[in-house]
């Protein structure tokens, strides 16, 4: 499946990037068992109050209409599917991806089947990815669109991590989120292994989980990642802005 890569040279981080462009490198939001409308309203208020538009606001499918009512017109929304374990049948993942599109959500992540990954069933992983990519990949490839496949990097050894990424590639996936968060954290070693094996053009790489400070975020961006998922996004963006304002070397 020959597709143009989603990674463009100008999407990589570099010195002098504006604060707003920097902010668009981050996903930020409220998800999970504890997510409520009240908490979501509070967090959106914090984000809008900070005056910086992140790449997308992360929420749950059931909260998309509510979130849309709080965000400015056209503000991107991101939802996870089968999160965080990929524990539903592949056809249901594809169907839910279609429903995200129906809601106007063009930025999603889908958890790979954790048990298949732990068991080394790479053909199954590739088939799962292909199912959703063939059904909806073109729909998510437009402006602002992202169809990310969540690779559970922390629980795989390096060889399995690379096999898993290769399976995503075989299935037609071009965007990978490395770890879901929710207890699984990315590491520089995982990202370095992926770039060493696949180069910087095969995947748009989104690290996730455990990224809590400015230095960590910058390190991943300098490695060639384009987008970061972290609940600390507002603090990291504020630190970038402070350094730029005070003339402190950014990288």
């Amino acid at each position: 499946m020959a597709k143009a890569t989603r990674v463009q040279a100008d999407s990589h981080f570099g010195p002098g990037e504006s604060v707003q462009d920097f902010a668009r490198r981050f996903h930020f939001g409220v998800q999970g068992i504890t997510a409520t409308e009240a908490e979501t309203r509070e967090v959106i208020g914090q984000m809008l109050g900070a005056g910086r538009a992140v790449r997308a606001f992360d929420t749950e499918m059931s909260l998309v209409p509510f979130v849309r009512g709080l965000l400015p017109e056209g503000f991107p929304v991101h939802v996870p599917i089968a999160y965080p374990m990929g524990n539903v049948p592949p056809a249901l993942k594809a169907a839910e991806a279609g429903r995200a599109l129906d809601l106007g959500v063009v930025d999603i992540c889908i958890s790979l089947d954790i048990r298949a990954a732990l068991s080394g069933r790479w053909d199954d992983i590739a088939a799962d990815v292909a199912l959703v990519e063939e059904a909806w990949g073109a729909e998510f490839a437009g402006p602002g669109g992202y169809l990310a496949h969540i690779v559970p990097g922390q629980i795989l050894d390096e060889a399995s991590l690379l096999e898993c990424c290769e399976a995503v590639r075989r299935g037609g996936g071009q965007v990978i989120k490395i770890n879901p968060g929710a207890g699984l954290h990315v590491s520089p070693e995982q990202i370095a292994a992926i770039f060493e094996r696949f180069g910087h053009d095969a995947f748009d790489v989104h690290p996730s989980g455990g990224i809590r400070d400015y230095d960590s975020a910058i390190a991943y961006l300098r490695m060639g990642c384009t987008t970061i998922h972290t609940r600390s996004a507002l603090e990291i963006i504020a630190e970038y802005e402070r350094r730029q304002r005070e003339g402190i070397a950014l990288v």
């Binding site: 998800q31 999970g32 068992i33 504890t34 997510a35 409520t36 409308e37 009240a38 749950e60 499918m61 059931s62 909260l63 599917i81 999160y83 965080p84 374990m85 990929g86 524990n87 539903v88 049948p89 056809a91 249901l92 169907a95 839910e96 429903r99 089947d113 954790i114 048990r115 732990l118 068991s119 069933r121 559970p152 922390q154 629980i155 929710a182 207890g183 699984l184």
Partner: protein, 222 residues
């Protein structure tokens, strides 16, 4: 069921093994767990909806219930997705469902959404046993009675936590079991694999493999 004859006992039959660990169960571990569930004659096994067909095939011919976890762990996917997941699980051979309650809706006071999801669950179970998984640690003492009243009598069993690894909920399992049991006779104790604490009429044991299940069964028996 692999030619393994069950050795059921009243204690064993009271136990449901929850094969729902987030990040540490591969195919071999699930097979081993299912075989032990069969050999010990447990009451049932709760599995991800994706695994229902596999579990049903492995346990075919046994009286052990295959219980599908639905909307696990967040309880926050779309209504249609939840309905499809239930229908798919039943079609794949689920004998019962364990549906994660939408605690966010309850905490927001969105009782109409909470009620709709319960009605969907009852309909989805189609008369089969239906368990509800509640994160009771997310609601106050005063609200627990109100929540149980809203749930009504159509739910077979109530489980005090998802037991999800990585959840922010972090429930004190023994305390939440006690709270639920004090309010409702249908409460099923979630037994901590580390301590096998529980005390309810039935136990749910969240385990990642057969060794862990053996230890818990021994602790419960002891």
């Amino acid at each position: 069921m692999n030619g393994v004859k069950g050795r059921a006992s009243p204690l064993s039959e009271s136990v449901l093994a929850a094969a729902l660990p987030a990040y540490n169960m591969d195919d071999a571990a699930l097979r081993g767990l299912l075989d032990l569930v069969a050999s010990r004659g447990l009451g049932g096994v709760i599995v991800h909806s994706r695994d229902v067909g596999f579990a049903a095939g492995r346990l075919a011919g046994s009286p052990i219930q295959v219980i599908a976890a639905i909307s696990y762990p967040s309880g926050a996917n779309s209504r249609i997705a939840r309905q499809e997941e239930m229908a798919g699980a039943i079609a794949a051979g689920a004998d019962a469902l364990a549906v994660v309650a939408p605690m966010g809706n309850w905490r927001d006071g969105r009782r109409e959404i909470f009620g709709q999801i319960l009605e969907d669950a009852v309909a989805g179970a189609g008369g089969r046993p239906l368990h509800l998984i509640l994160e009771t640690c997310l609601i106050g003492d005063g609200e627990l009675d109100a929540l149980l009243a809203a749930i009504g009598p159509k739910i077979s069993g109530l489980i005090a936590t998802t037991g999800f690894e990585g959840s922010d909920a972090g429930p004190d399992i023994a305390r939440e079991n006690a709270r639920l049991a004090s309010c409702d006779a249908r409460a099923i104790a979630w037994s901590d694999p580390a301590t096998a604490s529980g005390g309810g009429k039935r136990h749910v044991i969240g385990v990642a493999g057969s060794d862990e299940l053996e230890r818990c069964l021994a602790q419960i028996a002891g």
